[in-house]
């Protein structure tokens, strides 16, 4: 389904310079050294091509009519942070070169320069790019390994507990009637303890993952609307069982937000799950997704127990649980909201809450839109 992609232009140099002689000589010299060269006489056309072809290296003149070199650097940094930029400084003072490097250029080449100087600086630029690519690949590999490690631990810890719990459930379900009263009671208690521990592991693992910085995939973008719809669908059953009405209002046409589906689903799932769990019979949960400026705003409102004012401040702290008469019978690990806050902040967003005890709580998550590709 992907458009036929051009092969990665491993040896491509884009040259932007308004001086034709300069363009031609750069092209000539670099082509002889085995580079592919594309030249443009103004910033606009060059940037368009960079957007299309993603070259590893850009050689740009600082002083040009229209977009000047500084503007080109600024736009290209946003377009592709890994693009190696070398500036040509004609009216050269060291000052402008330093400014260009502050703005994100990798190196500078003062005019006039010899063919050897040009070749050397371009070769260094490509070496720099190769090192950056390698470092990124290593980082990815490490993240993947950590993700795999955490899911392995999850499986190893949860499987035996799940098996124990399953035996206990089946025991009561199929043979409960023939067990002595006391045995039945104890099996029931074992069920509760096993369930609590399973829940603790489920909640703790994503947190462990987050602390290793491996929960949210770097650079990912997702349709938050789709994630929210799926999360709401998955909670319909639980809402029905708790006799809570679950409503969803989505603003259509929102751009994708920063973050991978897994992290976002966990964030939304925790909020919706809580809103159902800490509600009352006949209550309501309203999930709403809308746009506010450059951010998506997800709000989850419930008509539940609410949070005592004195405890609101600690709500997003690990292992903190609201303690009140109403919540003491509800099991939980106190990690769900800590996870939500970590995910939100890792994605560059925020989470906040307003709550009135006995009336309900309203959670609000703001997430930035992903930069357009």
């Amino acid at each position: 389904m992907s458009v036929s992609e051009e092969p990665k232009p491993a040896r491509l140099v884009v040259v932007i310079d308004d001086d034709e002689v300069m363009r031609l000589s750069c092209k000539e010299i670099l082509r002889k050294s085995g580079y592919e060269v594309e030249c443009f006489e103004n910033g606009q056309a060059g940037i368009e091509r960079i957007r299309e072809r993603r070259p590893p290296l850009l050689l740009v003149d600082l002083k040009m009519p229209g977009l000047d070199g500084f503007q080109v650097i600024e736009i290209c940094r946003k377009l592709d942070p890994e693009l190696v930029i070398v500036v040509i400084t004609g009216y050269a003072t060291i000052g402008t070169a330093v400014d260009a490097m502050k703005a994100g250029a990798y190196d500078f080449l003062p005019k006039p320069f010899t063919p050897d100087e040009l070749r050397l600086i371009i070769a260094r630029g490509f070496e720099r790019r190769r090192l950056m690519d390698e470092a990124r690949a290593l980082r990815r590999e490490k993240e993947d390994a950590e993700r795999r490690f955490v899911s392995f631990v999850a499986h190893q810890l949860k499987s035996p507990l799940a098996a124990i719990k399953q035996y206990l459930d089946v025991l009561l379900f199929t043979m409960g009637d023939s067990l002595p009263e006391k045995a039945k009671l104890w099996v029931g208690r074992c069920q509760v303890r096993a369930s609590d521990m399973l829940e603790l592991i489920s909640d703790w693992l994503p947190l462990a993952r987050l602390e290793r910085g491996a929960l949210c995939q770097a650079g990912a973008a997702s349709e938050l609307g789709e994630v929210v719809k799926q999360v709401v669908r998955d909670h319909e059953h639980a809402a029905e069982a708790a006799r809570v009405a679950l409503e969803l209002r989505l603003e259509e046409g929102l751009p994708p937000v920063v973050g991978d589906g897994l992290a976002l689903a966990m964030l939304c799932g925790n909020l919706v799950g809580n809103a159902i769990k800490y509600n009352r019979e006949g209550g309501r949960v309203s999930v709403e997704l809308a746009r506010a400026g450059e951010r998506a705003v997800l709000s989850v409102r419930d008509t539940g127990l609410g949070i005592p004012e004195a405890q609101v401040g600690r709500l997003f702290t690990e292992f903190f649980r609201v303690s009140s008469e109403a919540t003491k019978e509800i099991a939980g690990s106190g990690l769900g909201l800590a996870i939500c806050r970590k995910i939100a902040s890792e994605l560059g967003g925020e989470i906040s809450v307003e709550s009135v005890e006995g009336v309900g709580s309203s959670f609000r998550v703001e997430l930035p839109f992903a930069p357009s590709p």
């Binding site: 795999r148 899911s151 999850a154 499986h155 949860k158 499987s159 507990l161 799940a162 098996a163 719990k165 399953q166 035996y167 459930d169 089946v170 379900f173 199929t174 096993a194 399973l198 829940e199 489920s202 994630v227 799926q230 999360v231 998955d234 991978d260 589906g261 897994l262 689903a265 966990m266 939304c268 799932g269």
Partner: protein, 130 residues
């Protein structure tokens, strides 16, 4: 009565407890201990429902089997409903994201282990009756 269910899981304890429940509800149960064994079992017989674990030989074994049953060479298996079970992810939304991100079809249905038995039996009934 007499509907056949194939349970595929590498956890012998899970197979034992689930078999007990299903047999108590008068289903005919066959088991397999790996995705590979499961595929073998499907060559000889056509169950009315498959209950399938996610992580077996490797993290994706269950998904791959789901894919093979739905879109594999043997088209006659494509209509067998599959109920996937796992203890890895408590949140089905996240589980399905993993599947779709890997380009795989999501299962017909999904439940978290340990199974809530009344919910599990209701789900089984919704596919095969009885």
């Amino acid at each position: 009565m007499g509907r056949k269910i194939l349970v595929i899981d590498d956890d012998a304890d899970f197979l034992a407890s689930v078999t007990t429940v299903l047999e108590a509800a008068h289903y005919e149960v066959a088991t397999a201990r790996s995705a590979k064994e499961g595929l073998e079992a499907l060559k000889g017989s056509r169950p009315d429902l498959i209950i399938l674990d996610v992580m077996m030989e490797h993290e994706w074994a269950g998904y791959e089997l789901n894919q093979a049953v739905k879109f594999g060479a043997d088209e006659s298996t494509s209509t067998i409903p599959i109920l996937m079970v796992s203890s890895i992810q408590t949140d089905p939304a996240t589980l399905f994201y993993r599947a779709t991100e890997a380009g795989m079809v999501t299962p017909d249905s999904y439940l978290t282990k340990p199974l809530d038995i009344p919910v599990f039996l209701a789900r089984v009934r919704s596919f095969v009756g009885g």
